[in-house]
Symmetry: C2
Subunit: 601 residues, 2 copies
């Protein structure tokens, strides 16, 4: 197994030198979060990840959850991990002090979540789901619900879930049919089926709390008739003793990867009344859920960036030690060289790093915008809100889609060994593949970006992003070695804006299908431009570091490496936008024209 | 499980209408292979694939080979399949009648191999390896070796292998150290280790025959001192009774996919003398092996095309029946629509089909060139030889690399279900991933293409390819709907030639590392251009079909579908060359500059 799964130096570089996350401590809400305290948090997270999560990375994959007699058993480490994450305050870290938390900024939550996910993605999701469920209850639930459910969720004793998907309603949530009927005691009786529920039940927690979408009888059709419920696995009886609430696990899904976490199918109320408790107002459930969705989508992007990072470090370690072949300029040399010295291997490593570190930077950047926004009075939040809304589908999809290619290249670096279970990269490749699917497929993200986000408020979000990028290109022009890239980025952003207008006009003329037919490719193109910006930001920070005094030799190499990866991105990745621009401005509607008969024979 | 894994109609279309494979029957060597007999062969292959291979596609994956007490046990179906393939003449099909074969053209061997691989890739490789081993012996071995080994290999009773790779010599075969010492009886005593030997041992065969590279004591260093040996698992003792030849299986590799076939590590002569028999002349082993390598590489491309095809058909079946969402133009509709009606889903299907059917066409085209070449007198073969040499790395790598993306898109079409073992696509995604590695990684193929193939004979191969493509563009200009694409292809081929010259000049000036640094991307670009050509060929055949009388409604839809996929390729895939051309003509040598210190911190 690879020893290293993350570069702490890189993480600190991005947080401090690129994003200046310490500036948050100037805001009253985050005053305690100084550079020193942030580094202590990161260091503690790394210790835990290294000591508890990473050692069972492969074990959890090889011994996936099992369903026997209605009980889902998971790796015994899960119970211990959840408890420790609860006891040591990781699950509650982002919560107010009144709930035992530290009011930690999102940026930092993403940063330690990244470390956990890089160490062991499956192991890291349990606690994240509990925190997400607790946050939903805290945001929209009654005082009674908060009191009953938030503390045990944050303690790591209970497991939280998000229960949205149904057999006939995945991407199309308006079609869910799980039914809630008002009961006498103020609760609702729930009947239905849910599928693909992550950590939907397991023996590592004492109870499971589902945040579940259902339809109250006679509610309006479609998305406007969906309500949010708390549905616990165990419920207190008249004497306060926990008894079954008739949430039955009917199957667990056997999956390509992400095998350490049980993905379950649940049947509700099949063998007895299953009670749910309404969160907030009736029929507003999807809205509540979607207010949490940005966070969940950023977490997916962060998880994908983390897996890509771990795979990159495994490949780096291997290519440094594996000797094979000669330099082309010295073919008769007696001894083979470490394969990292072959240009094609370096290219593959640069690609992996460009994806992993670019994606990480974007997710943290989004977290930072959210923190800055949270510190503002409500009426001044709109711009930062628009910006995070715009960037969320990108921060979700770029890491997820490019992560498939990045982990595939990690695997390739190992040659035949990469295909074998002896090394961790085949698992990273499998674990990665879920991210383009869960929390909204890439196709859904593309339609969200092009159909809603760039169009909202007359395109204001895109304008705001342009202004943010301009700050970076202006800063980059201070450094001669970056000015050419700054110009290219500015030019590409201009082209993206033009293409967006062209598509908008097409949509006005030919309707939403024509507008959105290639929304996925628009998202791909948008993602490349966005990550180019993130790399230029990193290169600016690196050049600043280089021009400061006192950088030691290793530090200089680190900064030079950053500039090199930025150059790689502009030379190898950014040109991919050219074909995409060409595609997006070609209005031949092939996919609209294609009919079923053309596919069958 | 998906019911359909291949479109026989498409295969016949490519063989007959696009490639006119029947024209081979005009050559004396292939006179028996008329359209009717070809279709009978394909139909019999399909029956066998459907009846015997496809039903155990998943079973073989879920019950991978196991090594116990030195014995590798495989799925019990393997023995039966191998015997039937032997008895029914599939293994020997391409061999001369004198050896029980039918002298079937390569094109047809690839075609039925494609059907087998689409049905069950792992199950299909056993017999292919035996045929390859037999062919090597027949081409270069002594009469005694032929008599002893060829018949049992072709009968399916014995298993053949190619034993090249060693722990310290994968891509770099010049470094192999397996040692052969002359013994008294004319044999050699072999000592060493081999890894990643496909079907290197199993209980489905009565004996295993390794075609093995080793170095005779005191042979020249590097590639010029490698000899080829036949090394059987069992060897006759003085009484003719088969006894152990001391080829020990020391481990089998547990893999991401391709799990139905045992990939073994072998130890030679550890517990007693292991005898090998020299094939051909000493020190010429790598050359012999490489004469077979083109065939093996085409088979890899064909296998990848086959897996992509099976995954496409699974996705097609699913997206036709799965209902989810509404048309954007009719959002309030009560009933969800089959997801194949969403433009983004159609786009994903068109992509999969463009890759799978484009790749298949190229592999069969290469087979056809080989068959045409084989029918010529030796002195007239050069042009066709150059053409197949040039196209082989492309036909190996395009299906393998793009197949990763294509099967990933097949998986995506299923949403969350695609990630689960309930559907076959996650297995296709895993099975696919080996192809960019085995028989020479993509990196090796890129260097082969740019460093050798396009440069050989003063660039003659590229010129010949240009002439072939021109035949197609000329034919395409007969059809108004294709003429725009014909022009674009001609223009892109021109740009490719220019870029090749630019790179050649760069190599002259800066040496081989500068020339080859981005050889993988050159190969990627070359592949897109080549497949665009293959699609234009298919579109020409479809237009011819459309303009002929008497095509029924279904046949018209099929032809229209072909033109549509060709248009998809030119509108969505060909533009990818733009960024690649930009990249390849940008001479910033980032990967040459990058040093180890830039990667570490």
């Amino acid at each position: 197994m690879a020893n290293r799964f993350v570069s702490m130096k890189n993480l600190r570089f991005i947080l401090h030198e690129v994003l200046n996350v310490e500036s948050l401590s100037e805001l009253p809400a985050f005053s305690g979060h100084t550079r020193k305290s942030i580094d202590m948090v990161l260091s503690a997270a790394h210790d835990f990840a290294k000591g508890e999560l990473h050692p069972i990375f492969e074990e959890m994959d090889r011994n996936p959850p099992a369903l026997r007699d209605g009980v889902v058993s998971v790796h015994p480490g899960v119970r211990n991990i959840l408890r420790t994450l609860g006891d040591d305050g990781w699950i509650s870290a982002g919560f107010p002090e009144a709930w035992g938390g530290e009011g930690m900024p999102e940026t930092l939550l993403h940063a330690f979540g990244f470390i956990f996910a890089a160490a062991n993605y499956s192991a890291s999701v349990y606690a994240g789901l509990s925190a997400g469920a607790a946050r939903l209850i805290l945001s929209f639930g009654s005082e009674a619900l908060k009191k009953a459910y938030v503390p045990p969720l944050l303690s790591g004793r209970w497991q939280g879930t998000m229960a949205l998907t149904e057999p006939e309603a995945g991407s199309s949530l308006g079609d869910i049919t799980t039914l809630a009927e008002p009961a006498d005691n103020g609760s609702y009786v729930i009947r239905g089926r849910k599928i693909f529920i992550s950590a939907g039940d397991h023996d590592g927690a004492d109870n499971v709390v589902h945040l579940m979408l259902a339809r109250i009888r006679d509610a309006p059709a479609g998305v406007k008739g969906i309500s949010l419920f708390v549905v616990p696995k165990l419920i207190p009886d008249a004497d306060g003793k926990p008894v079954s609430n008739h949430v039955t696990v009917t199957q667990i899904f056997h999956k390509l990867g992400y095998r350490g976490a049980p993905i379950t199918e649940l049947s509700l109320g099949e063998n007895g009344d299953c009670h749910g408790f309404l969160v907030g107002e009736a029929n507003r459930g999807l809205g509540y859920m979607f207010q949490m969705m940005n966070g969940a989508r950023l977490e997916v992007g962060m998880g994908a960036a983390a897996i890509a990072t771990a795979a990159y470090h495994a490949a780096l370690e291997y290519t440094r030690s594996r000797c094979q072949g000669r330099r082309l300029t010295d073919k008769s040399s007696a001894k083979p060289i470490p394969i990292i010295r072959h240009p094609d291997v370096k290219r593959m490593l640069l690609f992996q790093r460009a994806v992993a570190e670019g994606a990480l930077c974007l997710v943290l950047q989004c977290g930072l915008y959210e923190d800055q926004m949270a510190a503002l009075p409500a009426e001044e939040r709109e711009d930062l809100h628009l910006l995070t809304e715009l960037l969320t589908p990108v921060a979700k999809s770029y890491p997820s889609e490019m992560g498939i290619l990045a982990t595939s290249q990690s695997l390739q670096c190992f040659g035949g060994y990469g295909y074998c279970e002896d090394f961790p990269v085949e698992q990273h490749f499998r674990d990665m593949r879920i991210h383009a699917i869960h929390e909204g497929t890439t196709g859904i993200q593309g339609m969200d970006l092009l159909g809603r986000k760039v169009m909202m408020k007359g395109g204001r979000a895109l304008m705001l992003l342009g202004a943010e990028i301009e700050k970076t290109t202006m800063a980059a022009r201070d450094f001669p070695e970056l000015s050419g890239m700054a110009n290219r980025l500015a030019e590409t952003v201009g082209r993206l804006a033009t293409v967006t207008q062209t598509l908008g006009a097409l949509g006005m003329e030919k309707g939403p299908e024509a507008l959105l037919a290639d929304a996925t490719l628009y998202l791909e193109c948008f993602g490349i431009v966005t990550i180019a910006w993130q790399w230029l930001m990193q290169a600016v920070a690196a050049c600043r570091g280089l021009s400061a005094e006192k950088a030691g030799r290793e530090q200089i190499a680190f900064y030079e490496g950053k500039v090199l990866v930025c150059r790689y991105f502009f030379a190898y990745e950014l040109p991919k936008t050219e074909g995409l621009f060409r595609r997006l401005t070609d209005t031949e509607g092939i996919t609209l024209e294609a009919e079923l008969k053309h596919f069958t024979d």
